[in-house]
């Protein structure tokens, strides 16, 4: 009966701006959330990829150049590969072509040296997700198959990556916290100001016998509705922005090569978590606005006799 049409507050022109303001703030918060999630996802993805791999180094014979030593090297490599194939917990083992390892070392050793230096043979090993690998026994059997072979599990790199992941996560959280705090403040201010316009109506309703909860309901519904509209608009704009950024970044990457932030942005993929964040934000905006409206009305009412 006295349900939806309420006080017809929707006809009130002064609250028109609330959806706009909320759209802007939800937009900012959504961008921050997607950015934070992406950065964290990027780092943890890297983390996981590294954690799922090993590099095995087979030392070269010291005298390079002569064919005998080359053949000895190849033999040792094959022995290692055979051993790896039958080791449980290993999904794949692939020798890195000599050109690739040379390219890896070139910045450090210089092109001359790389060509003349006896390089170790590198084998890239992907671990199986299903089965754990017994590293110690593998190391032992490798030493038997090809003495001097070492097993690098990227421990140092992992530590660095984890430190980076931590700082990215912390920075992301700080940014989201700041934007959310700002958004909450702005919503509180906006709702309270919007209600300031209705001070007289609140007083009249009170004086003609409307219970507090009746008055609060009118305003909280109205405000919640406005906030929901604004929030949804904001998140839709955020989604559009992210998609547009990805497009631009993909183009940039094509031009500059896989460098820095452009790659990061290009790697943004809208996953379940992002969808949840983008849905959660307008809901949060609506809830916060509704509660603020309720609290503000109740506060005004508490001042009346």
């Amino acid at each position: 009966m006295w349900g939806r049409n309420d006080l017809a507050l929707a006809r009130d022109p002064s609250t028109r701006f609330l959806p706009g303001l909320l759209a802007v703030l939800v937009y900012l918060a959504a961008l921050a959330a997607v950015g934070g999630l992406t950065a964290q996802g990027f780092v943890s993805d890297w983390d996981r990829r590294l954690a799922g791999s090993l590099t095995i180094q087979i030392p070269p014979t010291l005298n390079t150049g002569d064919d005998a030593s080359r053949a000895a090297s190849a033999e040792r490599r094959d022995a290692v590969l055979r051993l790896l194939k039958v080791t449980p917990g290993i999904a794949d083992a692939r020798p890195i072509p000599e050109a690739d390892s040379a390219a890896l070392l070139e910045p450090w050793l210089g092109p001359e040296l790389v060509r003349t230096l006896p390089l170790p043979l590198l084998v890239d090993v992907r671990l199986a997700q299903s089965q754990p690998l017994d590293r110690e026994s593998l190391a032992e059997r490798l030493e038997n198959a090809a003495p001097g072979t070492t097993l690098d599990d990227h421990a140092r790199w992992l530590a660095d990556a984890q430190a980076l992941a931590r700082s990215v996560a912390v920075t992301g959280l700080v940014v989201i916290a700041l934007v959310s705090m700002a958004a909450v403040l702005a919503v509180v201010f906006a709702v309270r100001t919007g209600l300031g316009v209705h001070r007289n109506e609140i007083e009249v309703l009170h004086l003609i016998g409307a219970p507090d909860r009746f008055i609060a309901r009118q305003f909280q519904r109205h405000t919640g509705r406005l906030a929901a509209v604004g929030g949804v608009i904001g998140s839709i704009l955020a989604i559009i922005t992210v998609i547009a950024l990805r497009w631009t970044a993909t183009d940039t990457t094509a031009v500059t090569g896989p460098a820095g932030f452009a790659t990061l942005i290009a790697s943004i993929d809208f996953g379940l978590r992002d969808w949840l964040a983008v849905i959660a934000l307008p809901v949060a905006a609506t809830v916060i606005s509704t509660l603020t409206a309720r609290a503000s009305v109740m506060l005004s009412l508490a001042r009346l006799p």
């Binding site: 009966m1 006295w2 006080l7 009130d12 109506e201 003609i208 016998g209 009746f214 006799p305």
Partner: protein, 261 residues
Amino acid sequence: MSFFRHGVRPRSGRAEKERGASSQVVRFENVFMRYDGGPVILRDVSFELEPGSFHFLTGGSGAGKSTLLRLMYLGARPVSGNIRLFDRDISGIRRAERPAMRRRVGVVFQDFRLIPHLSALDNVALPLRIAGTREALIREHVPELLAWVGLSGHLDALPATLSGGQQQRIAIARAVIGRPNLLLADEPTGNVDDRIAIRLLYLFEELNKMGTTVLIATHNESLVKRFDHPRLHLEGARLSRVQMPSAAAPARPGNAAARPA
């Protein structure tokens, strides 16, 4: 006004009138009133309004008429003294009970206080909606009452597009639509011509016949003279009963109900 007889309130006004012999609708005892830092507006005021009575309240501009009404609709608290409303000491009424008390009082505010974004119809329907009346009843009774006050052509008009007198009649309709036990009208005819003023007073009398206690603050001397009801007069922060110019005893039982201290 079939409206009042078949109106939206289930309980009968007469029933209240009959059991009202031993009780009062309003009773002031030694009430002092002043606003923060201002002068005393009511000094030691005592009086009572019996159920079914009809009074005018007169006094100069700024004498305190609106303030006296405000105390009765729980819009302000006295500095000292006791006020009883419907046989309850208002200082003892819990906050949660106050809306129900207020719904038994209809108020015509001096400045109308219409809700600017609600149509005439919705403004008048407000008290019914607050009380949870069925929409079908509202659709039936509100237009009837608005027609009676001469606004049948303006059901959907917003207050800003109505003339001063039209707004005032909406304020009156809103105050009487719920058939309150007590009607407080503050200068309800300041913006209408004498013909409409008389019609509005008939409306109040009709309501009064159904059992509503009526108190009308007014400056309109000719109206006070025309309608032969007892008059309470505020002057120098004191309330007194003014003797009628016509010596004839008033016809209605309620007319003798005011006994200023």
